[in-house]
Symmetry: C2
Subunit: 688 residues, 2 copies
């Protein structure tokens, strides 16, 4: 098994099939380009050569270089998302028109509208659907690897460029245990003949050909129709390569796949990570005798009605098509329109809905509400996961959960405190202990200093649950301040564990925590541990470096065999270039951690804490933005916010505060210059 995220799984394959990668970094696709850069240190591509990597001035330049490389006969790839992909559109039309076998891997991300968002949906992908690129969709980290190979192989074979995408953050940054594809097993299926043809039609000084001409009205139309055959043949080619991958990997890819009851009447059609959530709901409902199904779209373009009909059960009566975009003013979202037209001669009711815009968490309960809608009263143009109390598009929320056979951890960290790296390390260690692992990291766009929440799952079976952990059995909090702002323990499991990094004592933390929180901890019989990791770090001269200390405490709580030894080895490896002192300090610190973690009793008191009445902006700051309805957010529909909001957002997370020493001040004014919140201001005054 290989433990990696979607970006890594995909770009490992892209490296093999590329001679040149032209790039410009954009969240959440940047790690793919970084990985290419790493791989070129010691890996070779299918030509036994190193990949050439060029960073351009923007994604428009990256697309131009990609186009140029292809037209001059180099197999080229690029990696992008969102605004970056929009900048590639002009070249994409050209590359498709010129039938060049390039591949763009996209960590799909919201296109900026009333606001930008670094998070994931399919608005960027859909913006390119007219370009003539073939489009392949991956649902999870496994697919990222396997379908990346299908994309590259098919592009070469069919002489049509491919866009391969997966959900930004959700899949691009999700860490999962996957079965590794041995690249050497692909050797027999590489279309060498087509590679030769591609090389032979390259534009160069000797080729005697020209490209990029101007056509007039006399011949343009005919030459567009002359490419029909290439597109008509493509679904079969893609399917063939999927079958080859299936042979090697034991998977079951097809242009469209069906999952669920073969006699289902009500099914969902979707693409991307949500498909795995839908499968969980189908399985859960099957236990109760409900017959639901899912058609996963893997080959979105060319859209093949033949392959769709191949998997569509004859029993189907109602279909809900889920689109991860909103095209304002349209009569339905893109995939919905495709499915309606593909099935227009069938007697099937089709409705369309939106979900997951900008990484909105899509839960089994949300999916259940779609099936309930199909079972009861059809509603077109619906939404899930939100409350639309203005135009009433949203389906009613259901109280529904699926118990996964996994151990679920939530780790609240402070951006840049190392808790995400700590979490990734825990995943690696659990993977070595033969667990299937799955990790997803909820950041906000505030970069360092914001809150990070690591969602970790371990289990003895493959874990494909692309939504946030709802019932953690272990919660770790590195800043006690977070208890004041965020609802941290409200969903903790009975008999679960809570680990708090704090300088407070048992008595002090009991005074600090609200009675509401303590009531939960007491009623659910939660084991609460305190550790002052910050002090241990400080004592061992590694101030602020709490991640290894916390990792030790967590592994110990998880009762991982030989955790201390493993972590010691890990520290030696991680800090091998930092010198003996750092290594010894960290090892000493983790040993002290084991001695200093204390289990405490929670003492209830009767002082009922006042429920704070939060306004919209405070709710956003308290991580309650998900609960805001459309009406509550209507004032911000055009992206306008009042100024001066950072004063409502005091983080209160720093343990130290600067003090102005009058005698030392040379009045350079830099303090004023660097303070991002303009808290320190310089004034020129007179002596009096």
């Amino acid at each position: 098994m290989k433990i990696c995220d979607g970006n890594k799984a995909c770009s490992d394959i892209a490296y093999y099939f590329s001679e040149l990668c032209s790039i410009y970094p954009i969240t959440p696709s940047s790690p793919m380009a970084s990985n290419i850069d790493n791989l070129r240190q010691d890996k070779e591509n299918l030509f036994q050569d190193k990949v050439k990597l060029i960073e351009m001035q923007s994604e428009a330049g990256a697309a131009g270089a990609f186009h140029g490389a292809l037209i001059s006969g180099s197999l080229a790839s690029t990696f992008t998302a969102s605004q970056g992909l929009l900048l590639m559109i002009p070249n994409m039309y050209k590359i498709a028109g010129e039938m060049l076998p390039g591949v763009i891997h996209v960590a799909a991300r919201t296109v900026a509208t009333n606001a930008l968002s670094i998070f994931g949906d399919h608005s960027d992908i859909y913006a390119t659907r007219a370009t003539g690129f073939a489009i392949i969709s991956s649902c999870n980290v496994n697919d990222c690897q396997n379908l990346a190979a299908v994309a590259h192989l098919s592009a070469i074979k069919g002489s049509i460029p491919f866009l391969h995408f997966f959900d930004g953050f959700r899949t691009s940054h999700e860490i999962s245990s996957i079965k590794e594809l041995d690249i050497h097993k692909l050797k027999d299926i590489i279309p060498w003949e087509e590679i030769d043809k591609f090389k032979n039609r390259a534009l160069n000084l000797e080729s005697g050909i020209q490209k990029g001409m101007a056509f007039n009205e006399d011949i343009y139309f005919q030459t567009q129709e002359a490419r029909n055959t290439a597109y008509n043949n493509l679904p079969d080619m893609v399917n063939n390569y999927m079958q080859e991958i299936n042979k090697i990997m034991g998977t079951n890819y097809k242009p469209f796949t069906y999952y669920g009851d073969t006699k289902a009447t009500n099914i969902i059609v979707a693409m991307g990570s949500v498909c795995d959530t839908i499968k969980l709901v189908i399985d859960e409902e099957a236990k109760k005798g409900h017959k639901y199904g899912l058609i996963t779209v893997h080959l979105y373009r060319p859209f093949s009605v033949k392959y769709l009909l191949d998997v569509l059960p004859k029993t189907v009566k109602n279909i809900a098509v889920l689109d991860r975009t909103k095209e304002a003013g349209s009569n339905g979202e893109p995939l919905y329109l495709d499915i309606v037209s593909a099935l227009k001669d069938k007697d099937i009711n089709i409705v369309g809905g939106r979900y997951g815009l900008s990484s909105k968490n899509t839960t089994p309960a949300d999916i259940k509400s779609v099936f309930t809608m199909l079972d009861t009263k059809l509603k077109n143009n619906f939404t899930i996961s939100i409350v639309d109390d203005v135009t009433h598009t949203s389906l009613p929320k259901e109280d529904y959960e699926i118990e996964l056979d996994t151990k679920d951890l939530l780790i609240y960290g402070f951006g840049s405190d190392g808790m995400v790296s700590c979490s990734k390390d825990i995943l690696k260690i659990m993977g070595q202990k033969n667990y299937f692992v799955n990790g997803y990291f909820s950041y906000d766009s505030k970069k360092s200093g914001g809150v990070t929440v690591s969602n970790l799952r371990f289990g003895k079976k493959k874990i494909e649950a692309p939504y946030y952990i709802t019932r953690p059995s272990l919660i770790v909090v590195t800043k006690e301040e977070y208890f004041k702002k965020f609802q941290i323990v409200s969903n903790i499991k009975e008999k679960g564990t809570l680990i708090i990094n704090t300088h407070l004592t048992e008595k002090e933390i009991n005074d600090f925590l609200s009675s509401k929180i303590k009531k939960i901890l007491k009623e659910r019989d939660i084991a609460v541990y305190l550790i002052d990791a910050s002090k241990i770090a400080e004592d061992n001269k590694i101030r602020g470096k709490i991640s290894k200390i916390m990792e030790m405490v967590i592994l110990n709580t998880l009762k991982v065999n030989e955790a201390l030894t493993i972590l010691e080895e890990g520290i030696k490896d991680t800090f091998k270039n930092k010198g003996e002192n750092v290594i010894n300090s960290n090892i000493k610190a983790i040993k002290e951690a084991l001695k200093n973690v204390v289990k405490i009793n929670i003492t209830l008191d009767d002082t009922a804490s006042l429920e704070e009445k939060l306004d919209v902006i405070s709710k956003i700051n308290h991580r309650l933005g998900d609960t805001l309805t459309v009406k509550e957010l209507e004032p911000f529909k055009d992206g306008t916010f009042p100024n001066g909001l950072s004063r409502f957002e005091k983080r209160q997370v720093n343990k130290v505060a600067p003090k102005w020493i009058k005698e030392n001040c040379i009045e350079c004014g830099r303090c004023s210059f660097v303070c991002p919140h303009a808290v320190i201001r310089s004034f020129i005054t007179k002596d009096e």
Copy 2:
């Protein structure tokens, strides 16, 4: 009546509703920006102010400035097409998300694929359909004016940006007699309240607001749905303004309009200039008792099913949707998908087809073939106007023509010889004589030096026939060489007239013309006139300036009252800044023209001219590219052509040739540098 082209009709209105226009010129939209620049010399906008015009570094910059102007509270417009529009896409998503009332006027043009094309189709428009812009479609020059006003008014009222488009070249450059919209009549319907609101929500230092923020996954989705109301209300607003314009102009605009038999079973749905051709066919077929219909889409986004159903006859059984684009890999073109989804619950058969890519001439015969298909056997994914002998998408060509009640002229000129200006002048004069006029100019992309064909129609009724003249009664040819290359007289009407500018005599021209051509002239009783305009120009010291001379001959042939006086006045006006000499020379020349034009007899001979067997590239050079089938053009499907084609394209149109005078040569090498065909080459040699 106002005689102007679509660009002028549209931008006259845009001027009135704009405070700022940010632009970057691109064919065929550039004249709109030029017109704005002209109007700012002496016209005022609705704020009694001059419009500010800014030319940026590219359309990406024009879109950014457009966005910036809007967000800071200025009513802004821009003008673009094709690649330029693609560069605006990122800003378009933002502008729509921020609900800013800007308007982009687009002379719709092909997006470059295997080749660029300066000609028209809707691929650029469709590339923006996901952005959230409202989209309004004009069919002809009248609409360009009237619906431009609807777009601006609705944008302000609804606080949603609009894209207003019309067919590039076909409508943007077509000259037509239109009823002028008196801008002052709009004063009462300007939404001043919304203008105030727009100004009040501008971003500036005093506003206390911020825009262009980053939203996270918690609130992004809800704020997208919060804009639903604005889009839901928009079709009614647009319809209201259409009704206001209808009151002023006596038109009959609606979001969708119906034309034809109210009990039709077979109808077409389309947008853009083709609608006028479809109407002609419907009227012609109605005479024969055939009941056909057309739904014209004027409001493409938001797509309103309500307004569509309002006009759809209950009797309709079969619909052909015409899309002026090809989205390779899709399951149908965009308008087709919309219509299928809008009517999915109706028992109506719907097929989709492509037409007019890159300004491919769409004739009544092509439209007739669509109705024939609907009457006989439905075929989806069809094409018209071409022969697809590879994937067999094309409908069979029909022998079908509609006799318009117009006088039809074809004028073959040599790019830059002034014959297009001459044609436009003739249209103006005929307009003054109370004729409805219509002119369209077929250029190729070779700019000056290529052949230009002016298609002029005059009549006593409104002329809306957006396709090439097929049966001209008067043909003018300024280069006898064209008879060798192009099929000039094959479609000339019985008893028509042919005017040739040539230095050849009656005998010489009889020797020069092929027996095939002479047979046509003789059999159809064509009056043939010769004029040596080039010599007259030379004699009067206005060498090369043949346009006024030819204009005189043409007006005389058309028997225009007081033609000489009109033309003399015209010359005085046109050349008023060029001095008395130029005016007098031209006046003298046109008088000589009247004396020197000679009617000749055509003498038949028996020497059967050999039919040339042309290859594909020669056919393109002989203006026969339209006859090439998909199979013939298949080798060029990816835009690859052999090098060195200009040697097959000798124009043989120049009357003089340069001669190298050895004694004068200083060996600067500039002759080699400027020759575009590398006919003159410099070599460095040794003395021996």
